[in-house]
Amino acid sequence: MGDYKFAKDKLAEVLSSLGDYQVFAPTPAGDVVRFLEVKDPAAVTLESANSTVPPKELMFPETETLFKYRLGDTGLDPSVPDASARRLVFGIRPCDAMAYTIVDNLFSWDFTDPYYLNRRENTTLVGFACGDPCANCFCPSMGGAPASEKGLDALMFDLGDTFYVKTLTDKGDAFAKAAGLDAAGDAESKAAEKQAEEALGKVKRSIDTAGIPEKLPSLYDHPFWEQFSDRCLSCGICTFLCPTCHCFDIQDEAEAFNARRARMWDTCMFAEYTVHTSGHNPRPTRKERTRNRISHKYSYFPEKFDVIACVGCGRCINNCPVNIDLLDILEKSKQAEGKEAKTA
């Protein structure tokens, strides 16, 4: 694990030197920033704080084929990604990298998911520390930080004219070698440390999560949810743009005789998500769906996997068109008076 650097004007050169990898980096299309495969290094932007769509889509795409088949035939052709392929995500924010470490729990408990896990295995994560957190960032409350190393193979810092790169794993070292980075010294690592500390001080919002996972179940019937669910659109913004939300639907699709079984993002905010064939819906209104979203992240997931399914990236707050503010909900949940979990 070492300290490296490269001049800022060499960014395109560095990206171009990674020919052994399939490289993904934040790329703008209008106001929308997404992690796309780098075709033109000049199109890459490191300016935006958080990408609009989180890079979870690189491990868990919006839509992906599970297997293909021909109608009338019983042969199945699985589309499992190659575990030995080499992919590299360049410029991922620490919160989004930490999100992978949380979602790993889900895709690897009991049955393992080869689609997600093979991609995780074959991907090198080169992080980019945040110098200027967004208005609704609260990663320090979730065990992260603007320069958190969790889940990363290397972490870059913007030091003005230079990027300082600290490698954290063998995969990170392999990247530094492939990119032919120069060695960095004490000056750079000190500057990076200072920047990390300053960035931490710039984070405006926070939540003390102590006690929340244990308390939420006691608020199952509490009317406080309605303050938020009453204005909820029941759309997929907060969950689709959440780096830890991982729910999906599975559908068979056929085009003449060529067919596939595919999975695609789904969300507990849609009414049809839980509706039974009988028409009965255990979560009939937005109150139950809002409660499930928050409870799943802050109570059910930690109960099962011992970690809250939230990294404090602020996307659900930034993008909600009706200002349903996760931190506001959590604060109000702390004030609300709970009762013992209801028995039937």
């Binding site: 297997f67 889900l106 991982h246 599975i250 068979d252 064939t277 009965h280 255990p282 409870s295 059910y300």
Partner: protein, 282 residues
């Protein structure tokens, strides 16, 4: 067991036989007796009463169903499926000689070993008898290990009872079989009324007994209440839950009740566990 490396890949199964349990029409129940196209699958396959599987048709999709045959019925699997939505309608079109897909076994199962030495009361309603059938048949096949077996089963009309041909077998073996229908029919010699009332009529003793119930949510609710009235404690009562499912392997998210995934941590739950999860009764 399923392909360990890819739990999304189903097995192809051949339908050996298929028949209607209830009159043909909307919401009919049809039973499919299937075997694996690749016989080698049997070498690694093992399931337990209560286990489920994703049954599907390529090109349409798959849905979760309980395996309605007991592991003691060897050489085939049975699924009893009510026609209701897109997938079940497509499965109902299938007959002997056709193929389906099966992905499983999935979910947990009834703790049959723990129950050894105890009396078993099975209380079912309608299609809810499907997950109880493997319990009943498992106990019948292992008579020496269990105490008394009582079967209580009701449906709206006598037509709508599933597994009708088996009732005489139960009685023949000395298993008490209490049947019920909701409304009076001419010539019906058994109980008329709802299953929770039938339960009070039969009034099984809670002494060294396990009660297993399945049926519509309203039936489960009142049967549970009545079992408690009869002196059953929550740890003596078991049921199976049903939620919308897609993956069956605890990933896709939608079947959660509280922190439990019904597809993985269920479908079998003791009432003691369910009492702590308010969403289980939603």
């Amino acid at each position: 067991m399923m392909d360990e490396s890819n739990p999304y890949l189903p097995y192809i199964v051949k339908v050996e036989d298929a028949w209607y349990e209830t009159p043909v029409g909307d919401r009919a129940v049809k039973t499919f007796k299937v075997t694996f196209e690749d016989e080698k699958v049997w070498d690694t396959w093992s399931h337990r009463p209560g286990n489920c599987a994703m049954v599907g048709r390529l090109g349409i999709g798959e849905s979760m169903f309980c395996i309605s045959s007991s592991p003691t019925e060897e050489g085939y699997l049975r699924f009893s499926i009510m026609q209701a939505g897109k997938v079940t309608s497509a499965i109902h079109e299938v007959d002997a000689g056709d193929t389906l897909t099966v992905r499983g076994p999935l979910g947990n199962s009834f703790p049959m070993e723990e129950w050894e030495g105890k009396n078993i009361v099975s209380i079912g309603g309608g299609i809810g008898q499907a997950p109880l059938r493997p319990v009943i048949n498992y106990v019948r096949a292992n008579k020496d290990k269990y105490g008394d077996l009582k079967v209580l089963y009701g449906a709206r009309t006598s037509d709508l009872h599933c597994f009708k041909t088996e009732f005489d077998e139960y009685s023949g073996e000395g298993t008490a079989c209490h049947l019920a229908i909701d409304v009076e029919e001419e010539g019906w010699p058994h109980f008329v009324g709802f299953v929770p009332d039938l339960l009070m009529e039969v009034a099984p003793s809670p002494e060294n007994t396990i009660a297993v119930t399945c049926g519509p949510p309203i039936l489960i609710k009142f049967v549970t209440q009545n079992l408690e009235k009869l002196g059953f404690t929550p740890d003596q009562i078991y049921t199976t839950l049903e939620e919308r499912m897609k993956c069956g392997i605890g990933k896709c998210g939608r079947c959660n009740v509280g922190s439990m995934y019904v597809c993985k941590d269920g479908p079998v739950f003791s009432y003691e566990t369910l009492k702590k999860i308010p969403e289980a009764f939603a």
